[in-house]
Amino acid sequence: MEWLIWLIPLLPFVGFLLNVFVIRHERPAGLVASGLVAASFVVAVTAIAMLAGLPEEERRIISVGWEWINAGDLRVPFGIMLDPLSAVMVLLVTGVGALIHFYSIGYMHGDARVVRYFAYLNLFVTMMLFLVMGNNMLILFLGWEGVGLCSFLLIGHWFERKSAAAAAVKAFVVNRIGDAAFILAMLAIYANFGTLNFYEVTVAGEVQPGFLERVPEIIGQSFGPSWQPIALATGISFLLLIGATGKSAQFPLFVWLPDAMAGPTPVSALIHAATMVTGGVYMMTRTEALFAASPATQTWVLWVGALTALIAGTAAIAQWDIKRVLAYSTVSQLGFMVAACGMGAYVAAIFHLLTHGIFKALLFLGSGSVIHGTHDTQDMRKMGGLRTAMPTTYWTYLVGAGALAGIVPLAGFWSKDEILAHALSHNHWPQLIILFLTSLLTAFYMGRQVALVFFGTQRDTHYHAHESGRVMTVPLIVLAVGAVIGGAINLPWGHWLTDWLHPVLHEEAGSFNPVLALIATAGAVGMSYLGWWLYTSNAAKVKVGGKDPAYRYTGDIWDGLEEAWYVDRLYERVIVQPFRGLGDFLARVFDPQGIDGLVLGIGRFFGWAGAQVRELQSGYVRTYALVFTAGVVLVLSFMLIFTR
């Protein structure tokens, strides 16, 4: 039984190895990659069925492969586990992952490096599975950095484009900043608990404790200078939060995600919407005990999430690129999940994570279908009226947009409502208002996007729009079905997900507030209509390369929104350029002239001294004799004086 869960990550890994070392052609590459991820999904379902068969308290399968690090004070096993929380993540990763693999067969057809693409995609799934199945922080981190690597590779898949290369590096580096904090958090966890395991595990006959079970031990402990002690739990959880802001694209580290859209669209769907970016949320949910021990950090988490949701939501309404709208929308929705974590509503966060994973994948794949059908057009100003040319895409996209906007009874409504209801019932008023405003913005920009892409008339007629092939539309339909019924897993009346996660999170189902639901639904419908109406009635004013109709009302603020409040530019000025300057100064001035100057100066001093002493060698024999005689007199005098 235990060995079975190893198959889940290893099957995609086999696909990776095959695609790297064996397969050289497009067709087998796509089939092997998709088939193995699908197989992994099947294994996962089997394993979860077995898991469900266990009594509730025992639903945790841990399997240790070998001792990974054994360096005296530091011992970490290489082990994976499957528990209810991992299980839902595994289902999302392998399920959506398999669909996106299939979709890629169509989308990437004819690409020059398609075999490599599938290899990366397989590696990504492997790493994502390690992330969600790791039984200790270090394995989680292995997956964490591994998915970052795959993100780098896939964003940079078309590395000939300078922007893609730059975006790939930017994504990796910004993530690394969060990862550094993550590393520090792991160091602190190990230093204080003596283990990185989440739960107790037996390695080679020796019982190693799990730190999540020992969190109460550090409550009340603090570190730092005596005049400003910091609670240990706050320190650790805050570092984890920074780690999560990197991976889950939260303020202030969200800047990499919009640029990451330079990668192929299925990649955006899988990595930059459905799975990888949710890694931070998963991690915070997993280490929920640590966050619970620190109210200070919880407040930070809540504010980070809410502010990110708002900032990204405002940025999303002003984008022209079909994928950048979705990218900022993703950042915004991740903000919802992080805010839910900050409120302690972890089930709601995971619920929203799952539904968002489905409908955002649907939206990205739909946009991919649009891009594919319009011959690599991404600017929405060049689109319009596509609903006739691409009916399947249109309908499925509409479902996704509705789910995102929170229209009853689509999946997004239920999960978003659960977060808002939790905020209301726990009196997080400022955050509730921010999140509510954001959800209105969400409805507005989705209305705007649907109007711009599918309604009106085609503004740029240089291409002939066509519907995508079956291999691409079938995944769309499957996901659309998911987006419709996905909310059913945690309806206010059934709360099946809450029960399933109970062994891990120990949460009770939240209360359903009909008034709030009604207001939210009305707002969503109203704002969607507003967005749709504004951009269908003003469709004539949308010109290729022109300004947005809303620019008339908002003025230059709109430009600010389009640039996401200039955060990127701020970093460029405040961090990147000074860093380059410092590097240049150290490398061209300080190192060669300062440090090496000192070293060479010592050498030069001896050279100079030698030149001076050389002058004494006049070449006159008589001068040498004179010095010699002086020496003789000196030595003789010495002997006369000091010897008896």
Binding site: S618, L626, T629, V633, L636, L640
Partner: protein, 177 residues
């Protein structure tokens, strides 16, 4: 008696040495040095060293001084010091050092040589050339042999040096001639 003889000879030796030092003509220097050597030879006799007296006269006063004179005259180098001295600053220093050296030497001499040589029976046979000869061929045999080798090497060296110089000179005629 001995003392008077010593004083006269010593005065002659000193005069010869000083004159050698101050003569501007190298031939004169050589001749004054000859005088000095002869005086020293007499002193050797006074010190009961007849054998050394003999070789001092033959080797030094005879062979070596002749060689000197010969070279001086061969090269025509009687008066090379007419040009101004380039390191004239060294002369007062040299004199001062000379005085210092003399002082040190005198002090040393006074400290380590206070005694009057014991006369008597032993003194009678002291300095016998036969005794010296026996020593040379017994206890000092090895140094004696080495001396022979050194002389041989000197001869070879001189020949080689002149060979070398001649071939060079043949290749490049001296300027001015």
């Amino acid at each position: 008696m001995d003392l008077i003889l010593f004083l006269i000879t010593a005065a002659v030796a000193l005069i010869g040495a000083i004159a050698m030092l101050v003569s501007r003509n190298a031939v004169h220097s050589a001749l004054f040095l000859l005088l000095n050597f002869a005086a020293i030879a007499v002193l050797f006799l006074l010190l009961q060293s007849p054998f050394l007296f003999a070789i001092q006269l033959t080797v030094y006063a005879g062979a070596i001084m002749v060689l000197f004179l010969f070279v001086v005259m061969l090269l025509g180098a009687e008066q090379v010091e007419d040009t101004p001295d380039r390191i004239a600053w060294q002369r007062p220093l040299a004199v001062a050092l000379g005085v210092g050296l003399l002082g040190v030497a005198v002090l040393a001499a006074l400290r380590y040589a206070p005694g009057i040589p014991p006369g008597g029976a032993a003194a009678a046979t002291f300095g016998d050339p036969a005794e010296l000869g026996r020593l040379l061929f017994t206890r000092y045999l090895l140094p004696f042999q080495v001396t022979g080798i050194i002389l041989l090497i000197a001869v070879v060296g001189v020949v080689v040096l002149n060979q070398y110089g001649r071939s060079k000179a043949a290749l490049k005629p001296p300027p001015g001639d």
